[in-house]
């Protein structure tokens, strides 16, 4: 189980949070203009990275705010926590 350092509330246990998958997936600006392949890529394809991975969490039994986490998906170590809208920080495993 993770100890997640919520940028608003500080460290809390994982059961207070919910993971919502890969971060930094930009919705295509003009969906009508792109092909089905590009739309499917946006909608369904995921990096599912083995190693350094950026993902979204929401503190739904706390401040209910969303934020991003950088985590190593092999060791499950959380490497950085940063707010929505911020660029992913450079981290080393």
């Amino acid at each position: 189980m993770f100890l997640i350092d919520c940028p608003y509330c500080g460290p809390r246990q994982q059961t207070e949070f919910h993971c919502h998958g890969e971060a930094h997936i930009a919705r295509p600006k003009d969906p009508d203009a792109i092909s089905d392949t590009e739309w499917a890529d946006y909608l369904f394809n995921r990096s599912n990275t083995k190693g350094l991975f950026y993902e979204r969490w929401v503190h739904n039994h706390g401040c209910r705010r969303w934020f991003n986490v950088a985590r190593d998906t092999v060791s499950d170590r959380i490497l950085a926590v940063y707010r929505m809208g911020e660029k992913p920080p450079k981290v080393t495993k």
Partner: protein
């Protein structure tokens, strides 16, 4: 290779069981094969077996980065059933179940298939309606399926608390009597031995490090034991599908999540069927050794660590203590996790990839064990012909572009 029989058992008993042959060879990889299967779990080994047996292609190798069946094949709760809702799923899972029924004879290896019945519980009106819908759909497909009321559930599994005032009241259940369990390790070993007997090379401790692709066409793979060429390559690596797809230069609609299971102390026989509850994400059966084999729900985060979160275990055990009060006095002995490859529609992907000659079989998610024979059978046909067969066809990777999803997520009585 010697045939296993009561006579071979008696003969070997005379020599104190010291002269059994190895069940399969351990050859060095050849420089080239007609077909290369990546992944020595149940699905990959079944694919190799059916390639040799059904299609007469035995210049085949299965390469495995670790040991056979060391991934999800050896980590699941061994439940076998075919009561899926949609036509496409019902077809492949029922085909699989029919293969399970004759598998010990086919492989000359006792896989201990035990059709002890699988019950899926309904705890509320929504569960009950969905369950009825699924049972009727199953029966239209010719798949055995019954509806049991609470009293009948109690008769089948007396240890369950069916009181209407309980925390998770049991309204009723669906029952598939042909469903049950099988010994998971034996499935990997049986397929490996049968494939090896027909000339398939099974190469363990051989990890793929890259693909050799020329003009969009597969030529072979780079491995830790050197380059191996093949005109067709099939990938059956479950949780690591995205990693291999990344090496081949394409993306997958798959996420890898930890899924946990645990076993209890062995006790006297008290439960002779499999019971599953989607609402509380728990499924339980009693093994031949007497242990309760208990499966949990999956974590929602991506992980390759083969470890899940403990709160999941706490959650399902809390629910199980309500459903089966005697469990509160049992000790749990071991817990473990596997990495399941989950697709957006909770249906597998079997078929072509953007790379010519490279095929993939993945996305079996939380329920791949039951699909092992059907998956291998369909994937072998696909690899042999270079085109998906009728059974694999609907499970193409391309369905995420066309929109023809097979949405079993809320449909299949699966504890997703």
């Amino acid at each position: 290779m010697a045939k296993y029989s009561v006579f071979s058992l008696a003969r070997n008993a005379l020599s104190y069981h010291e002269n059994w042959q190895r069940a399969w060879r351990s050859p060095a990889p050849k420089p080239e094969y007609d077909i290369l299967v990546i992944g020595g779990g149940g699905h990959g080994l079944a694919t190799a077996h059916y390639l040799a047996k059904e299609h007469g292609i035995n210049n085949v190798a299965v390469i495995e980065k670790s040991w056979l069946g060391g991934g999800n094949t050896g980590r699941n709760t061994t439940i076998v059933r075919s009561n899926y809702l949609w036509d496409e799923s019902a077809a492949i899972y029922e085909h699989s179940l029919k293969l399970w029924e004759g598998l010990s004879q086919d492989l000359n290896f006792n896989i201990m298939f035990s059709p002890r019945g699988v019950m899926n519980l309904a705890h509320n009106l929504h569960d009950w309606r969905e369950l009825n819908r699924r049972v009727h759909a199953n029966r239209l497909h010719g798949i055995d399926s019954e509806i049991l009321d609470a009293a009948q559930v109690k008769a089948e599994a007396p240890i369950f608390n069916v009181s209407p005032t309980s925390r998770y009241p049991i309204i009723g259940a669906s029952m598939q009597r042909r469903g049950g369990t099988a010994r998971h390790d034996a499935v990997a070993w049986g397929y490996a031995r049968a494939a090896d007997q027909r000339g398939v090379d099974i190469i363990q401790n051989c990890e793929v490090t890259g693909f050799v692709i020329n003009n969009g066409k597969i030529e072979g793979v780079e491995t830790t034991r050197g380059r191996i060429n093949a005109k067709r390559v099939g990938v059956a690596v479950a949780g690591h599908s995205s990693v291999l797809a990344d090496m081949a230069g394409f993306r997958m609609p798959v996420e890898s999540n930890p899924l946990q299971a645990l076993v209890s102390d062995p006790i006297k026989p008290v439960l002779d069927c499999v019971v599953m509850s989607s609402a509380v994400h728990v499924y339980v059966s009693q093994s031949d050794k007497g242990e309760f084999v208990i499966g949990a729900g999956s974590d929602l985060h991506v992980s390759y660590s083969q470890r899940g979160s403990f709160d999941i275990i706490e959650g399902i055990m809390g629910a199980l203590c309500e459903l089966v009060p005697m469990v509160s006095r049992m000790k749990m002995m071991r817990q473990w996790g596997g990495i399941v490859d989950v697709t957006p529609d909770r249906s597998p992907i079997v078929g072509k990839t953007p790379v010519e000659g490279l095929f993939i079989n993945c996305g079996w998610g939380t329920g791949g064990f039951k699909g092992t024979p059907g998956s291998g059978h369909a994937f072998a046909a696909t690899l042999a012909a270079g085109e998906p067969n009728d059974m694999a066809g609907p499970f193409s990777l391309d369905r995420f572009r066309t929109g023809f999803l097979i949405d079993e997520a809320g449909a299949a009585a699966v504890a997703h």
